[in-house]
Symmetry: C2
Subunit: 231 residues, 2 copies
């Protein structure tokens, strides 16, 4: 089929996907980053990403990048935003669609990530990034904070069984501030989306911390319903 | 400056913006639509849009489309989503960035819109649209409903002075269901973001309906703070 002239005469652009991949480990929110392998800015820190190929949807391109760097597929990914400024990439004009993913860091393929040259950096370790990638990270964090205010959060990031201190660490990382222990405990339990297990996590104290599990149905109902969570 | 081979060897794509422009008039939420002027699907109903040009950011392209069709600039526009499926446009592979705008329909340039071939259609008048434009409209409505639940809404769409029945009409259009009058009145006034004026709108009843105006500062504070609005 020949392309109508309306299309044929219009400019074409490089389109990239950039992926903000969040994980949670050792009480820290972490991001999967890599050192850029090409010029300009070879060796500088960057999000993982790549160009959208012919015959490949933007969603598929983001899934490909996630799979290449973590070995994971069927992961919760959402579009963050399109970054469409003309000068954003110093190599050429590139329109970037940013995606963010929340993964259980324990389940990703560490060998694959290392071979790819990808590293998990916690928030306070993240250096200046190339182009507008620092802005993308800030925007993704703002999106996470927004999610945390109006929807339950943690299911995608925490291991299946987790303690209240772990969940509070996660919220503290997202909000970037300390939360009151008792207040957090009261409010998070009041959501009614967690099931207390007959097991304890004894890694952090002798007495141990009770383990919980999300009730997936209640969690999803609250996700649909929304609320305001202030701690 | 020569383009690094990493960029030069990557595929390029047509990138469009499609704009979902909402207005509110005669108690109806309306959308600015047009009949497509080019093949394929010439004459079919479409959102207003266009291709992103060289040296033009995607935001600027959306602002250009809005300005061309309504005469308005400096308008609240937000990205909705990138639509990146390979087959979405039957003419060629086009990646589209959808934007939505909320405008005061009374303030747009009717002559310009008509000359451009654009028409305001209320939600129940909207026919099948080309490509994935019906999906874009559905997604924009879902975004509006989400906004209405967690943030105040109406400032961008209503005239400066408006009555409670007008505001309820707007919410009914967004939610696509009837709302209880007394309950709505109580909850919307409890937000504390409206100022009651010493004027009445006598266009709909002899007794008239009091006119209100948003308190911009309180409105914006509530926008930042968020809440859950259930009616």
């Amino acid at each position: 089929m020949s392309i109508p002239s309306f299309y044929a005469n219009s400019p074409r652009h490089l389109v990239a996907v950039d992926c903000i991949i969040f994980g949670f480990e050792d009480g820290r929110l972490k991001l999967l980053m890599m050192k850029r392998k090409v010029d300009p800015m070879e060796g500088a820190w960057s999000l993982v990403g790549g160009f959208v190929q012919e015959g490949e949807s933007t969603d598929d391109a983001a899934a490909r990048v996630l799979q290449l760097t973590t070995g994971l597929d069927n992961i919760y990914m959402d579009q963050l935003k399109c970054y469409g400024d003309v000068q954003r990439d110093t190599g050429a004009r590139v329109i970037s669609i940013a995606y963010y993913a929340l993964i259980r860091i324990q389940e990703h393929d560490r060998v694959l990530a290392t071979e790819y040259g990808a590293h998990w950096l916690s928030l306070h370790q993240i250096p200046d990034l190339i182009f507008d990638h620092s802005q993308m990270v800030q925007d993704a964090l703002a999106r996470l904070r927004d999610k945390a205010r109006f929807h339950p959060l943690g299911f995608e990031l925490l291991p299946e069984k987790f303690s209240l201190p772990q969940l509070r660490d996660l919220y503290e990382e997202i909000y970037q501030r300390e939360l009151d222990k008792r207040n957090f405990r009261k409010k998070i339990l009041a959501m009614g989306i967690m099931e207390k297990l007959d097991e304890k996590d004894k890694s952090t104290s002798k007495k141990g911390a009770h383990l919980y599990r999300f009730d997936k149905q209640k969690y999803e109902a609250l996700t649909r319903h929304g609320f305001v969570f202030e701690v």
